[in-house]
């Protein structure tokens, strides 16, 4: 699979580490979140047949984390964004 690193361009999958589907944002103060909501943050991940937002890190390259949208059926990846954006 070719993965478009926003900094280095298209690179082979072996250069990356998979970061999984993008979790919901980290709660500003996790201590105020109830158990159910915290479990949702920890363990619930989307598993769609189709478009999935997920994170990769270019470990063998620029070491930047970034987010892409990958179609889980075709592995087509739409242009990435910087992970912090």
């Amino acid at each position: 699979m070719l993965i478009p690193c926003p900094w280095c361009g298209d690179r082979e999958e072996v250069e990356f580490r998979y970061g999984g589907p993008v979790p919901m944002g980290y709660p500003p103060d996790p201590q105020t979140v109830d158990d159910a909501a915290w479990a949702r943050y920890l363990y619930y991940r989307p598993n769609p047949k189709g478009a999935l937002e997920e994170r990769w890190v270019h470990t063998a390259g620029c070491r930047r984390w970034f987010t892409v949208t990958r179609d889980t059926v075709t592995n087509e990846i739409t242009p990435a964004t910087d992970g912090s954006g």
């Binding site: 699979m1 070719l2 580490r17 970061g19 944002g25 980290y26 103060d29 996790p30 201590q31 979140v33 158990d35 915290w38 479990a39 943050y41 920890l42 363990y43 994170r55 890190v57 470990t59 070491r63 930047r64 984390w65 059926v73 075709t74 592995n75 992970g83 912090s84």
Partner: protein
């Protein structure tokens, strides 16, 4: 001899010699083993895999199901694919070859290539596409599985056009033509794997193409009738190929059995080759071959024909060659691998591409343009009934010996899906992947069920399209090149001093250093005693090392680690523990405060990369506002732990100007010093409980520093030690190894390390420690175990129970670390035990293969509980 006096693309000026099953034969360059065998009238070349039926050459190409041969160590080659060379020795197989027990001596290599257009198939459609792409100036790669470009043109005799096309392509600088190169797999984003056969081995091409043009042609398919597997029965198109391309007459008296127009031109070819045409049996005229008869060796002697309907008498026709055509299947294996969907075309009686897919173009016969094969009008009549309802010789898959009777049995059990029936009957699972059988399987099912073929569908095509050796996949990534080997700067010293190594991830680490006649136990015991009673040194350069700089470093570390660093003064270090967000221990190490906004962290040897990625993920995705920079410096530093009650003397002699007394260089302090121009950073930390100093230096000084330590310690008898002793020393003190005593389900509290968890600041995983499950008091706790029999060693991983026998063998935990301690003079272990801290002093049992080891539960510390020794 059946070699024609003239014609064919063989070089008759250079006779070749070969053997088949030990008998000597002759042929010519340009022959395949199959064409040469036919030229020598070898009709029976193999036996079928299950029923041991005699089988002959059936096709002229990659789809061959019968003529499997072994050549040297190479099992399961197709005679139709083997180029004849002088001295070749082949054996016909009974359905399967023999894998050699010897290492493969063939050379395998890999090459990467990128192009605008990759054309698969060098027939007319492929050459045309390559010419068009080449004229545009783009990079073009054309691959073809055969030794010669041309595909069916080599049979059809388009020699001038072919020569012109190849000539023009050869003159284009950006066009690369690869023959003997089979594209066998299509993967994401147009990655195509191509196996190229070379004189001394094979080469794996990994081609990234902006566009793939599939000009993969079509495979002719047989008709299904009783005893349709006899030697002498060939696909009609193959007969044309043997006559025209190889100058061979595969028989003397021929019958054609067809359902389409493609055999018309064969009649001319047969006549020119001097083969008498005894009859044309055309399904479209209501005629069929019902059965076949053999001579004693099993080859075809005659066919029995009759009208498909009515009661007209049967007719026998003497012949030694039956040319069969049931139409054509576009070769859409690669299209299907690229996730293209297929659709059944009633007019063509075959599956064709349904919708185009991005980046892939299908052309020629593969796209259903069967004009070149002359199919014309076709009347599919898939299965011709035999006598008395016997379907046991109506072969659907010749290589797998699977028949219509097998399909009926599968249907009888209630199976309807073509995928299920494939697996039950094994149709399509042979090394030919059912290239002549797959669509006939679907059609047989459709016929039996009275459904349209398109409704039954086809089985999924998966890579590889042809068998490829595992050696080709591995190519040079074998032995020392299987994966990177990492060694520390001191590795050469360890080797020279007889270290026995063990793998720690990619690292080679000394396990112990045996003297002349020591076994592992004796060597490890000696190394442990040296560290406890004298002085010893261990190479700890493999620790992960992360340099942390920036004004928000302290805040960052406080968020990452469970413990706080606000009070850690410059020039000091502290043990640190980190959890994942789920509250489970993830890694540990030492955090050093080196200067203003300058910190440093070590990680476990195995966790270095994961910890850095983890830290970067938080910095980059959740906390981009933190001004922190991380740099991996694992390979930039060499580290040596000098350990034992006399370690201070060694350090003092190495650094005479450095005050090393317990007050001037206290526990957890950092100092800098030098030996000549070798700068050294020293840390007072211990992973053994003994007085110890870690000496760090830039890695290019690592060997020099190690040698200096050994020289300075020599008068005291300093002992190098390895992982074996290191693990015992740390376990005696109850120091955990993340990944051995933890497994991703263990909290700091489970480990009895609640004191490491700050209550005054927020950190990753903190919220999880309040979850109902995490806060349970009966979770598994880290405890010590002392077997009642001090000589009994609990195997690591052993489950623990409360009663040694009887009904309740419910596991209440497991052993995580277990050793013989030379210091304690007995065995001991660490374990994770349910409610373990409430079971101190009780006995648990490890049931083992008919016996049980009983052990007393203790605190997880066995030596120097007062921590007196580290400051001794």
């Amino acid at each position: 001899m059946s070699r024609l006096p003239q014609g064919g693309r063989i070089d008759r000026s250079r006779p070749l010699h070969f053997t088949f099953n030990g008998d000597a034969y002759g042929g010519y360059p340009g022959d395949t083993l199959a064409s040469a065998l036919l030229a020598n009238d070898v009709r029976v070349v193999a036996q079928s895999v299950t029923n041991r039926r005699p089988r002959g050459i059936f096709t002229a190409g990659i789809e061959e199901p019968n003529a499997l041969v072994q050549i040297g160590p190479e099992p399961m080659l197709r005679a139709t694919q083997v180029e004849l060379v002088d001295g070749l020795g082949a054996l016909g197989l009974k359905g399967k070859g023999r894998v050699s027990a010897e290492p493969d001596t063939a050379r395998f290599d890999k090459i990467y290539a990128h192009c605008e257009v990759l054309v698969v198939g060098g027939g007319r459609a492929g050459l045309t596409a390559a010419l068009e792409a080449g004229r545009s100036g783009g990079r073009v790669i054309l691959v073809d599985e055969q030794a010669e470009l041309g595909g069916r043109l080599l049979t059809a005799g388009w020699n001038d056009w072919l020569a012109g096309a190849i000539g023009e392509l050869s003159s284009m600088h950006e066009v690369r033509l690869l023959t003997r190169a089979t594209a066998f797999g299509v993967y994401d984003q147009n990655l195509v794997l191509v196996a190229e056969r070379r004189p001394d081995g094979q080469r794996l091409w990994q081609v990234r193409a902006s566009k793939i043009v599939l000009a993969t042609g079509a495979h002719e398919r047989p008709l299904i009738f009783a005893n349709n597997d006899r030697p002498g029965i060939l696909l009609a198109g193959a007969v044309r190929t043997y006559i025209n391309r190889y100058g061979v007459a595969p028989g003397k008296r021929a019958v054609i059995f067809t359902n389409n127009d493609s055999t018309k031109v064969l009649e001319t070819d047969l006549r020119r080759a001097g083969i008498s045409l005894e009859g044309v049996i055309d399904v479209r005229e209501g005629q069929a071959v019902l059965d076949t008869v053999t001579e004693s060796a099993g080859s075809l002697k005659s066919v029995i024909t009759a009208p498909l309907t009515g009661n007209q008498p049967r007719r026998g026709i003497e012949c030694d060659l039956l040319c069969v055509s049931g139409g054509f299947n576009p070769a859409l294996h690669l299209f299907s691998q690229a996730q293209g969907k297929l659709r059944y075309d009633d007019g063509l009686a075959c599956f064709v591409p349904d919708q185009p897919i991005r980046g892939v173009e299908v052309v020629g016969a593969a796209d259903g343009d069967l004009g070149g094969r002359g199919q014309g009008a076709i009347t599919p009549y898939w299965v011709i009934p035999g006598d008395g309802g016997d379907w046991s010789t109506h072969f659907v898959d010749l290589e797998r010996d699977a028949t219509v009777a097998d399909v009926q049995q599968a249907l009888g059990t209630g199976m309807r899906s073509v995928e299920h029936i494939k697996r039950f009957t094994t149709i399509g699972t042979g090394s030919d992947q059912g290239k002549t059988a797959g669509i006939n399987e679907s059609a047989t099912i459709a016929t039996q069920l009275g459904q349209p073929v398109g409704a039954v569908g086809v089985t999924t095509y998966r890579p590889p399209y042809v068998p490829v050796p595992f050696g080709l996949m591995a190519s040079r990534n074998r032995h020392d090149l299987f994966e990177p080997i990492r060694v520390t700067p001191m590795h050469s010293w360890h080797v020279a001093h007889g270290a026995v190594f063990e793998n720690a991830g990619q690292w080679k680490r000394p396990r112990f250093y045996p003297t002349a006649d020591e076994d592992i136990a004796a060597a490890v015991a000696r190394e442990c005693r040296a560290a406890r009673t004298n002085v010893a040194a261990v190479d700890v350069s493999t620790l992960g090392k992360i340099d942390i700089q920036g004004p928000d470093s302290l805040e960052f570390l406080n968020r990452i680690y469970t413990n706080a660093f606000d009070t850690l003064k410059e020039g000091c270090c502290r043990y640190g523990l980190m959890c994942k967000a789920d509250g489970m221990v993830f890694d540990d190490g030492v955090v050093m405060h080196l200067g203003a906004d300058h910190w440093f962290a070590t990680t476990t040897t195995g966790g270095a990369a994961a910890v850095l990625d983890w830290m970067e993920e938080w910095l980059q995705t959740e906390w981009p506002d933190l001004r922190v920079h991380l740099t991996s410096v694992t390979d930039q530093w060499a580290s040596i732990a000098v350990v034992g009650p006399r370690s201070r003397a060694v350090v003092r002699s190495l650094f005479p100007s450095l005050p090393v007394g317990p007050d001037s260089f206290p526990f957890l302090a950092i100092r800098e010093s030098e030996i000549g121009d070798m700068r050294v950073r020293l840390h007072r930390i211990t992973f053994s409980g003994e007085l110890a100093y870690e000496l760090w230096t830039p890695s290019w000084y690592g060997l020099s520093l190690w040698e200096a330590v050994m020289a300075a310690g020599e008068p005291l008898g300093i002992t190098p030690y390895g992982l074996g002793a290191m693990e015992i020393l740390r376990a005696e003190k109850g120091y955990i190894i993340v990944g051995q005593d933890t497994d991703g389900t263990v909290t700091p509290q489970d480990l009895g390390m609640g004191w490491m968890v700050s209550k005054r600041k927020a950190f990753i995983g903190q919220r999880s420690h309040r979850r109902v499950d995490t806060a349970r008091t009966d979770r598994k706790h880290l405890v010590g175990l002392l077997p009642l029999d001090g000589d009994a060693l609990l195997p690591e991983g052993t489950q623990l129970v409360l009663q040694p026998d009887g009904a309740s063998l419910k596991s209440v935990g497991h052993v995580t670390s277990s050793y013989r301690s030379p210091t304690l003079g007995r065995t001991f272990a660490l374990a994770l035990l349910q409610g373990g801290r409430g079971r101190l002093g009780t006995t648990v049992h490890a049931p083992l293969d008919g016996r049980a080891i009983a052990a007393t539960v203790t605190e997880p510390i066995f030596y120097d509980k007062e921590n007196d020794r580290r400051d001794s």
